[in-house]
Amino acid sequence: MPTALIVCRLLHFAATMLLFGASGFLWALAPAGLARELAGPVRRMAGVAIVVAAFTAFAWLALEAGEMGEGWSDSVNPETLSAVAFETAFGQVWLWRMGLALVLLIALATGRHDRWAFTVPAAALLLASLGLVGHAAMQSGLAGALHRLNHGVHLLCAGAWLGSLPPLIFCLMRYGAPRLRSEIGLTLRRFSGLGHFVAALVVLTGIVNTAWTLGAWPVDFSSPYQMLLALKIAIVAAMLVMALVNRYILTPRIKGQTGAALRAIAINSVAEIGLGIAALALVSIFGTLAPV
């Protein structure tokens, strides 16, 4: 039961971040010519992400019903499901999130999910609203509201970073095409500018989250929560190093159409995605643990 919830959380985090980051990258960063080129792949990625995000949103409610109730039987018990949805703080948030997932699913079914001016804000809401449940919900009043807001910003920044890596890799692979080179160059410069801001916010909001949830630095490794959180911080630190290497060591070395530097950036970015998924897996686990 806890393992199923952990897997569900991981898939939901990953899908929601991919949806927000990839479609946001296309919508906000890519100039018209490149956007046309990117539209197909991002459309497919967003489609898969919507299906996974919607399915795991519904599954999460069922698994939560089993967690709050007596196990698997309560996951399919209509009475328990309705009690979780309508009579708990989690349900109050989750009903809205499931509604939003359903709207995105309808957009996908009618082939309109590539109207990015709709999909990007909807994905942002779906991602940020994850900050309204879980450990950020443990305080009430003003402290609780600020904790949720901080967690929402943390989720959005992490999603913007991680979700934009697949279209970024796509851009790097297309850099060889002369007609796209200037637009890709412009997009990479925009990505770099925004990337500094987003990565700094991930770290800042992560520290605030830790302070509020744990109230201490995660250095007591006898606590599983602290050990896994410390591991996640180490992974994010490694991702930061890779991003900085990409930006300040490899990017200045890009010359010509393909070249080793370009390939190295792409490989680094794939590794960054792998590390990012590992970080999501860790938070999927320790989010279910007592923050002690």
Partner: protein, 123 residues
């Protein structure tokens, strides 16, 4: 990364997967009647104060005599002014003796805890 620390991490992950359901979130901070305490008159209600808000729909309080007989007790609700306080009405006056309160709670951040304690009604 050394093999030892890798295996430590693997062991911790395995531990976490097994133990996560048993770890605690909403901790009992205070009870009226007090944990292990003695009251001079039958309490009208059992009042449990937790470290964070709880979901009344998924939380429960049971009361039993020393011999194990169940005492009737109302369905628990939260204090309207403070959702971290769970209250259940004691339906019938309790005779002098020792009683066991068994509780389980789901916190507003969706985690489960449980526990029990005794109190005594003095003759």
């Amino acid at each position: 990364m050394s093999r030892l620390s890798m295996s430590r991490i693997a062991a911790s992950l395995a531990f976490v997967l097994v133990a996560s359901a048993a770890l605690a979130h909403a901790q009992l901070q205070k009870a009226i009647p007090a944990v292990g305490g003695t009251v001079t008159a039958s309490p009208k209600e059992i009042r449990l104060k937790f470290s964070e808000g709880v979901e009344p729909r998924f939380s429960g309080i049971a009361l039993a005599t020393e011999a194990g007989a169940t005492e009737p007790i109302g369905k628990p609700g939260v204090d309207p002014a403070d959702n971290s306080v769970l209250i259940a009405i004691v339906s019938e006056a309790l005779k002098p003796g020792t009683y066991t309160v068994t509780w389980h709670a789901v916190s507003v951040d969706t985690h489960k805890t449980q526990g029990s304690f005794n109190f005594t009604v003095a003759p």
